[in-house]
Structure formats: structure tokens, C-alpha cells
């Protein structure tokens, strides 16, 4: 993406640090970075508010690194401050909730005030996913990347229509091709993560204990055999 060099570690926060004047953003990583004389220096106590300011203009989950870069502090420190800010909002019971989702940070309204917020958010258009769509989404989420044929085999029904809906809603996307069958492979998107409020796929609830203990070889055979049957119409 950007070719900006990694930001150096900023001085660790401490009781004395209050008086330490940090370098202005961008001035540290020299070279291709313009001196940015226009950017004033930040006090230690300004760092979190500066992060808060940036969060206010964010309109998509934003990785800590992008915020770190704008302010000129390390990613670690930024992440630490983001976490502390999120905890502060929670403790103070603010109407704002700072959350990490889909690999980035973003401000959300606090759940409990949803009924009031909804009067201002123009979208009577929240559509619910059907059971079919949810089941299909679940299989794709846990098996990704996965072909339509395989999803069909697991659900026991043709999933083309449902997959199309999920594609249009940008909850899944086509990522590559299966090397054996040549079928298009499906994966979930980052919108999927944000819609579920998950930081990453690792946050998906574990499914393994629920799955039957099938001899893997047999599992392979059965799935390939069934995939053939179910793949009446896989592309």
C-alpha cells in the first residue's frame, strides 16, 4: 500500500513523560517524509485525544497502523491507547463504543441505545438473512476457501441462489479457483466480519467439537462422491 517506513518506537509513557515533547508527526522517519513543519508537536497527554479525533473521521474499520502513522507513534503504543480508550468508554458507560472489528478500529453507538439511534439512522431497510443464507454463510465461513459444490454437498441442497444473494450483499466473495475441480472458491469478506462484530476469523466460535468424528479418509471420499452428486450445476 503505502511505502512509508515503519515508525520508530516512541518514548514509553511514564510519569515524567508528561514534559517530554514528542516530535511532530512525520518528522521522525526522515527521508521521503516531508518535514511537516506545519504540524505542531504533541504532548504525551495529547496522544489519546489525537487518536480520538482521528477516530471521529474514520468511516470504515481502520487498522492501528494507519492511526499510528498519522500521529507519529508506534503501532504498539497506538494499539495500547486504543484499548485503553475503548475500556474508558465502557467504564464510563458512554454512548460511544470503540470496537475492533474486521482488523480495524471504529466508533459505534452503544448497543443499549439502539432504539433511540434508530430514529436518526435512515434505514428501515435492515433485511434479515434467511435460514438458508445463514447456513450457507456458516459453511463458507468455516470451510473457506470452499467451492459451491462442497457447500451444496454439506447442506444437501443446491446453493446457487443463496450464494448469489451473499455475493450481492458482499458478505462473501470469489477468491480463486479450486485446483482439482476448477470450481470458483468462496470466502467471507471483511464486511462479514464487521457485520458479525468479529475482529478476525479466529473469533468464530469453534465448530470442531460439534462435528462428528469421521474418519478423514472416509470423509474425503464421501464428500467427493457427494459433491459429484450435488454438483449438478456447479460452475
Amino acid at each position: 500500500m503505502s511505502d512509508e517506513p515503519q515508525l520508530p518506537e516512541a518514548s514509553p509513557a511514564g510519569p515524567v513523560a508528561e514534559t517530554i515533547v514528542l516530535r511532530g508527526a512525520g518528522s521522525t522517519d526522515g527521508a521521503d517524509e516531508r518535514p511537516d513543519a506545519s504540524i505542531p508537536e504533541l504532548l504525551e497527554s495529547d496522544l489519546t485525544p489525537a487518536i480520538e479525533s482521528i477516530l471521529l473521521v474514520v468511516d470504515t474499520p481502520t487498522p492501528a497502523v494507519e492511526i499510528a502513522r498519522a500521529i507519529g507513534i508506534s503501532i504498539d503504543e497506538t494499539t495500547e491507547r486504543l484499548r485503553a480508550l475503548a475500556a474508558e468508554y465502557d467504564e464510563q458507560g458512554r454512548g460511544i463504543s470503540l470496537r475492533e472489528a474486521a482488523g480495524g478500529w471504529r466508533m459505534y453507538t452503544r448497543e443499549r441505545y439502539a432504539p433511540y439511534v434508530e430514529k436518526f439512522v435512515l434505514d428501515g431497510q435492515k433485511t434479515r438473512l434467511t435460514t438458508a443464507a445463514l447456513e450457507t454463510l456458516a459453511v463458507i465461513a468455516y470451510r473457506q476457501p470452499v467451492t459451491r459444490a462442497r457447500v451444496s454437498a454439506i447442506r444437501g441442497v443446491n446453493v446457487d441462489g443463496v450464494v448469489r444473494t451473499l455475493l450481492i450483499r458482499e458478505l462473501v466473495e470469489e477468491t480463486g479457483t479450486d485446483q482439482h475441480t476448477g470450481g470458483g472458491q468462496l470466502s467471507t469478506t471483511s464486511l462479514f466480519l464487521e457485520k458479525l462484530g468479529l475482529r478476525s476469523l479466529d473469533d468464530l466460535p469453534p465448530i470442531a467439537p460439534l462435528l462428528p468424528d469421521v474418519d478423514p479418509q472416509m470423509d474425503e471420499r464421501l464428500e467427493s462422491g457427494l459433491a459429484e452428486l450435488a454438483a449438478l450445476d456447479d460452475d
Partner: protein, 289 residues
């Protein structure tokens, strides 16, 4: 778009109570409401759940009749893609059930092994499906919760908007027009239709009518003869199911000397000339569609 099978209600119209193998069915009790099942596994799970049974072999054989009844009750409204999977499951269920009717024997030959394997396969798929169904429920909860948190998404404050560098459209008018065409062309992602493969769903009842005539005329035919003119596997399957139906009505008997050997179908119903009259009374749609 939605692959949910239509909801249906079964009353005593399915003829289940005639099946010699089924336990005596209380006519007044046999009313089943199942709605919105999502395919053969879902149907099977719901049937098993309805009987408060474990997902076990016993349960499977108990629900076999109902499963078949459902398929029949769905009639000819559904597409082949759906029907195939349902029939596959039904065939396995029938197989298992048949095996249970026979005297318990040692696992001796390949056929028995194959049957056991088919059963394990069905269990595995059933449990696998149940696992995904379970997490799908969890995902729905996540979505519901996350849906109550509204993200901040507002316009940039004017001072920052003004600082933005000039944006490039990056394409000329001709290319821009092409993009417009692409954007406005209704999106119908690659879809391979099945219509050209099969003119329509194969109807078991039609196949029965056809076979009735042929068998009554010939007296006896091999299964091979009966299916010689089938163009699709589905027709063969439908004729096989049809024969089971005729057997249930005691209109045919079977004869098979060796395993996997030729299956002779003997007509035991009324003679051909009486068939026409009988067929006139017989309305297959009533029962099958």
C-alpha cells in the same frame, strides 16, 4: 432465490398406514406440521427431533416412512437439484430399513459392508449438517447484536474536505461509458440452468401409469426391460420407486435369483383388459402430486 422447500402439512392422505412395515398408525394422530426445512438433512433432523429420538439407526428407520411421505407430498413442484438430494437420502433410508427387515445376519458379503458404509455416510453427513446448522444460529446472534451498534459514518468536515487533493477520474469518456454499461447491466452472476438437461421433473406417478400398462400387457418383465427406454437416471430411479409402490399395492411381485442378478417383475394384478377400467378410476395425482 430461496431454496427453502414449501411448507406442507400432511394428513392421512399419504397412505402410510397401509405400509405393512410401519407400526400401527393412529389415524387421528398422524398430522405433521413442518415448515421451512432447508433440504433433506434438515427435514430428517426435524423428523428425528419431532420424535424426540437420538440421531441413531433406530431413529432413521422410524422416520423413513415419514421422510418418504414428505417427498411424495412435495409433488412435482420442486426442481431436480433439490429432488436428487432428497432421493439420495431416501434411497439410503429405504436401504437401511430393508436391511433391518431381513433376519439379522453376520456381516458377510460386500453388500452388507456397502450398506454399513452408506449408513455411516448418512450419519456423518447428518451430524455435519447439524453442526453447521448450530453455528449458523450463533452467527445469527452475532449479527443481531452487532446490528444494534451503529457505526459512525459521517461526511468529512469541510476543512478536511478542502484539503483533499484533486481527484482523478482516470478514464476518458468512452471508457466511462463502458463502465456505465457494465454498472447498469443487471447482475445475473453466471448461472448454469438445468432446464436444458431435463425437460421437467420426473413424476413417479406417471412412471407408474406407464409401467402398469406394460406389465399388465406382458405379464412379466425384467427391470432392465422396464427401464430400457429411460433417457435419464432420474427416470430409472422414478421407475424403481414406482415398482416399490406397485409392490405395496400388491400388484407386482419380484423375483431375483442372485444378488445383483436380474430382477424379474411379475404382474399379479388384474389382466390387461381390466386394467383400463381400473386405471380410469385411479387418479395418481390424488396421491402423488
Amino acid at each position: 432465490m430461496n431454496d427453502t422447500a414449501p411448507s406442507l402439512e400432511l394428513k392421512n392422505a399419504t397412505g402410510l398406514e397401509n405400509q405393512g412395515t410401519a407400526p400401527a398408525v393412529d389415524r387421528t394422530k398422524f398430522t405433521v406440521h413442518l415448515t421451512n426445512f432447508e433440504g433433506p438433512f434438515d427435514l430428517l433432523l426435524q423428523l428425528i427431533g419431532k420424535h424426540k429420538l437420538d440421531v441413531t439407526e433406530v431413529a432413521l428407520s422410524k422416520v423413513t416412512d415419514e421422510f418418504i411421505a414428505y417427498i411424495r407430498a412435495l409433488g412435482s413442484d420442486w426442481d431436480l437439484g433439490q429432488a436428487t438430494e432428497f432421493l439420495l437420502v431416501a434411497a439410503t433410508l429405504l436401504d437401511l430399513k430393508t436391511a433391518r427387515l431381513l433376519p439379522k445376519a453376520q456381516i458377510e458379503d460386500e453388500e452388507d459392508l456397502a450398506l454399513l458404509e452408506a449408513r455411516d455416510l448418512l450419519f456423518a453427513r447428518l451430524l455435519q449438517y447439524r453442526a453447521y446448522k448450530h453455528v449458523a444460529g450463533l452467527l445469527a446472534q452475532f449479527i443481531a447484536t452487532a446490528g444494534k451498534r451503529y457505526p459512525r459514518a459521517v461526511s468529512l468536515e469541510p476543512q478536511f474536505a478542502a484539503a483533499l487533493p484533486e481527484v482523478l477520474i482516470g478514464v476518458g469518456p468512452e471508457r466511462f461509458a463502458q463502465i456505465a454499461v457494465r454498472a447498469m447491466t443487471p447482475k445475473t452472476p453466471a448461472e448454469i440452468r438445468l432446464d436444458h438437461l431435463h425437460a421437467s421433473t420426473v413424476s413417479v406417478s406417471e412412471q407408474i401409469t406407464l409401467m402398469r400398462g406394460r406389465l399388465a400387457d406382458a405379464g412379466a418383465l425384467s427391470f432392465r426391460d422396464l427401464t430400457d427406454d429411460c433417457e435419464h437416471t432420474m427416470e430409472v430411479v422414478a421407475r424403481f420407486l414406482g415398482l416399490l409402490e406397485l409392490y405395496r399395492e400388491r400388484l407386482v411381485s419380484f423375483e431375483q435369483h442372485d444378488a445383483l442378478g436380474e430382477l424379474r417383475v411379475q404382474w399379479t394384478g388384474a389382466a390387461a383388459d381390466l386394467q383400463a377400467a381400473a386405471a380410469a378410476d385411479y387418479d395418481p395425482d390424488e396421491e402423488y402430486e
